[in-house]
């Protein structure tokens, strides 16, 4: 609740929050909101500019762009959520283990350091090339690039938390390791991690769009904003509506999440604030 009140202060962030809620509604209720089958092709109607039937116009296959944008919300939200889940769960596992158990720390962190040395986009595209294109594989590939950063952050947080007086007190009074981690360390990480997750959401959306642009992302049979941009980019002069609507959606979504993360971060304990990477 204290989070929500933070949004009232910065009006723009509040607008962003509303946009995100709208997006979630669109994603969940896509079949009811979309006016056409997003894959339904109508070559006769190809490249129509927006009108009353096709709100956002049609693409080079005669597919309705409005419906594709609506279903694209589903894809983009699922994708980014998947990346967060993947990178966060594994990141927490490795990060906490390294931060807490001094013995394995050097090996795990060395591995993470080496992986971080690879440019993220390249790592993602190599992974997609190996695994093949598919929603799950793209999530794993992009998730892997965020994994390293998340692990680093969790590791840093764990180290800081370990030194907190109440943790040291718990250790010296003989509380079990597992208990300490579960009851003290993890809950205190929640806030910074939530903030980090909002930024991950935003950037992973852009990363997946970049992969789509290179033809190595989500398979084109699934409507996604990134694919729409990638397929439509040749029509910049001929039919700009192919790019305007999915592009605007990406920008607004990423912007909303960045603003939200920003506001939330300002409310964080300054001790942890610096650890969060974001805009």
């Amino acid at each position: 609740m204290k989070f929500l009140s933070a949004f009232y202060k910065r009006k723009i962030a509040f607008a962003g929050l509303i946009f995100i809620s709208l997006l979630v509604v669109f994603a969940v209720f896509a079949p009811f909101i979309a006016t056409f089958d997003p894959q339904g092709m109508n070559p006769v109607d190809k490249l129509r500019s927006p009108d009353s039937t096709y709100f956002f116009g049609t693409d080079n296959f005669g597919r309705d762009i409005f419906s594709r944008v609506v279903y694209g919300a589903r894809t983009s939200l699922t994708g980014s959520a998947g990346v967060i889940l993947f990178s966060l769960s594994i990141g927490v596992l490795i990060g906490v283990s390294s931060g807490y158990f001094r013995k394995i720390e050097p090996y795990l962190m060395r591995l993470i350091d080496v992986l971080m040395a690879f440019p993220p986009l390249l790592l993602a595209l190599v992974l997609v090339s190996i695994l093949g294109r598919g929603m799950g594989n793209v999530i794993i590939a992009v998730g892997a690039t965020y994994l390293t950063r998340t692990t680093r952050i969790v590791y840093g947080l764990t180290l800081k938390l370990r030194e907190e007086p109440y943790i040291e007190a718990a250790i010296s009074s003989g509380v079990k390791q597992k208990w300490i981690i579960l009851k003290h360390i993890l809950p205190n990480m929640m806030s910074p991690l939530i903030v980090q997750a909002t930024f991950t959401f935003a950037f992973s959306l852009l990363d997946m769009a970049a992969l789509d642009f290179l033809g190595l992302g989500i398979p084109p049979s699934i409507p996604s904003w990134g694919n729409m941009l990638s397929e439509g980019r040749m029509y910049l002069t001929r039919a700009p509506w192919l790019l305007i609507f999915p592009g605007a959606c990406i920008v607004l979504t990423v912007l909303s999440f960045n603003l939200a993360g920003d506001v939330l971060r300002d409310r964080l304990d300054p001790h942890f604030r610096r650890d969060i990477e974001g805009v």
């Binding site: 296959f61 033809g215 040749m234 002069t237 001929r238």
Partner: protein
């Protein structure tokens, strides 16, 4: 006095004529042509690769024994005279004398022999000719003799087709070359332009060959006089089509190839660029797996799949404006004598009812059919999207798998991995070059009927009789359905209005000799 005036007038006129000639000459020649191409070619070694990009560039550097005129007929290029003996089994080719390679050495029969042998062993299309060849020998300083096992009609077409074809390298280059492509320092040919430099990622540079030995005949297609009017030609890789278009409009490039179909109509009317269509039709082709899987022997099932697809929406979506495609079922285009109507009643039927009926008769029970396509070529993916939709609507269980080109090729080699894959076929001058005529190309069409007809096709010499056999082969293709063609489509390029000498359409690959700045 009169004599003086006369002399001065004559001298004056001569001077004026010379000046005019000089100026015209100066205006015609010179300058650097900048051609924006879609990618960098893997190599310029014409023997081993069939990349069209390679041929577009390499045709300026290397030459072969024959080439094509505007009617796609093979005419002599490096050859001077030919003599056919023994009912077609022996061809004695006399070479032109005084033709120099770019390194100054004169071309003779040894160079031709070495190049032909290398091409025969390691060339992309070499085996097609050489499996029918008994031997090839140098029978004189400027004479080469080919002895065939049996009369083999397509030989001249094969010698004239440069794409994966027998260009002539100097003997020391050809005899030391094997499977690996020759290196840039070995790019020595006889053509109107010389290879100058390969700057990776930036350009490939050719410069005029001042010692080029011109043929006397006027230019006709790729044949005849090849005038090198530019000082330099640069082929610049610009992968993004939007950037290629913008570049020509802004004056950064003079020529840009392979422009998006949907931009054709607006570019056609745009006064800042000129559009030119490449007449060498490309065809989208679906290959069916004849070696393994649910489609292996089941011709009826294949016919069912064939019947369900209407190719017009496929071409409309994937290619764009009607000027750039033709839903034509004949494999060879109308402009050639190979145009055939055999079996066309089965082409582009789009009849879902018939498809379902045939599928039932074929015993189809909803088995999964794996259909591979690649996103590396936009129109591959776009075509299959529409085709798969139609197949699915007809009740077929299609598993549409998308890969990048490299992965697709690697999976294609394993017959257990696919049932159908999509590729495209470029223009070929002789039907024998169609990949489905080969027994080793994935698809592996090797029924007895086909083998018999293929042998007959190769052995018949008379053009009319060959056409009759080809009609039978095409009919067989529509019955056994080893492949399905989508239709003909044409790519188009754009260029700056400053260029003169390019025609409204190019034969197969755009060429830049006989072209100059206005």
């Amino acid at each position: 006095m009169n004599k003086w005036i006369r002399t001065v007038t004559v001298l004056g006129i001569c001077f004026l004529l010379l000046a005019a000639a000089g100026m015209a000459f100066a205006a015609e020649k010179g300058g650097m042509l900048r051609v924006a191409v879609i990618d960098e070619p893997p190599t310029l070694d014409q023997h081993v690769v069939t990349s069209d990009l390679t041929t577009m560039i390499a045709q300026h550097i290397f030459e072969g024994l024959y080439t094509f005129d505007s009617k796609y007929s093979p005419v002599p290029l490096l050859v001077k005279s030919e003599e056919i003996k023994d009912g077609g089994k022996i061809a004695v080719l006399g070479l032109r004398e005084g033709v120099k390679f770019h390194n100054g050495k004169e071309l003779d029969a040894e160079d031709v022999l070495a190049s032909m042998e290398r091409w025969g062993k390691f060339g992309a299309r070499g085996p097609v000719l050489f499996s029918n060849l008994e031997k090839v020998e140098a029978t004189g300083k400027y004479e080469v003799t080919l002895t065939f096992k049996a009369p083999f009609a397509p030989w001249k077409n094969l010698l004239a087709f440069m794409n994966g074809g027998p260009v002539i390298y100097p003997k020391d280059v050809a005899s030391s070359a094997e499977k690996t492509p020759i290196t840039p320092d070995q790019y020595i040919g006889t053509g109107p332009y010389k290879f100058a430099e390969r700057n990776p990622g930036r350009y490939i540079k050719l410069v005029r060959n001042e010692e080029y030995a011109y043929r006397a005949e006027p230019a006709d297609g790729y044949a005849g006089k090849r005038e090198a009017l530019f000082d330099e030609i640069r082929f610049i890789p610009v992968p993004d089509v939007g950037t290629r278009v913008n570049g020509v409009k802004a004056g950064d490039y003079d020529y840009a190839e392979q422009i998006l179909g949907d931009l054709f109509n607006s570019l056609k009317d745009d006064p800042s660029v000129v559009t030119t269509v490449n007449q060498g039709a490309n065809q989208g082709m679906m290959f069916f797996n004849s070696r393994n899987g649910v489609l292996k022997d089941n011709f009826k099932l294949r016919q069912a799949l064939q019947a369900s697809v209407n190719m017009e929406p496929v071409l409309q979506s994937a290619i764009g404006p009607v000027e750039l495609w033709k839903a034509s079922g004949s494999f060879m285009p109308e402009t050639t004598l190979w145009y055939s109507k055999a079996g066309l009643d089965r082409f582009s039927a789009g009849n879902q009812e018939l498809a379902k009926k045939l599928a039932k008769e074929a015993g189809y029970n909803g088995e999964k059919i794996t259909f591979m396509a690649s996103t590396s070529y936009k129109f591959h993916y776009d075509s299959t999207l529409v085709i798969v939709k139609q197949l699915q609507e007809a009740g077929f269980n299609i598993d549409h798998q998308i890969y990048d080109w490299a992965t697709l090729i690697s999976k294609r080699g394993d017959p257990t991995q696919w049932d159908i894959f999509f590729t495209h076929h470029g223009f070929v001058p002789d039907p024998i070059l169609y990949t489905f005529m080969s027994e080793s190309y994935p698809g592996w069409w090797t029924t007895d009927t086909k083998k018999a007809l293929a042998a007959e096709f190769a052995g018949t010499l008379d053009a009319t009789k060959r056409k009759e056999v080809w009609d039978k082969i095409q009919a067989l293709v529509y019955e056994e359905v080893p492949v399905m063609k989508t239709g003909d489509h044409f790519t188009y390029d754009i260029y700056s209005p400053r260029l003169q000498g390019l025609s409204a359409s190019s034969l197969i690959w755009p060429k830049f000799w006989g072209v100059r700045f206005k």
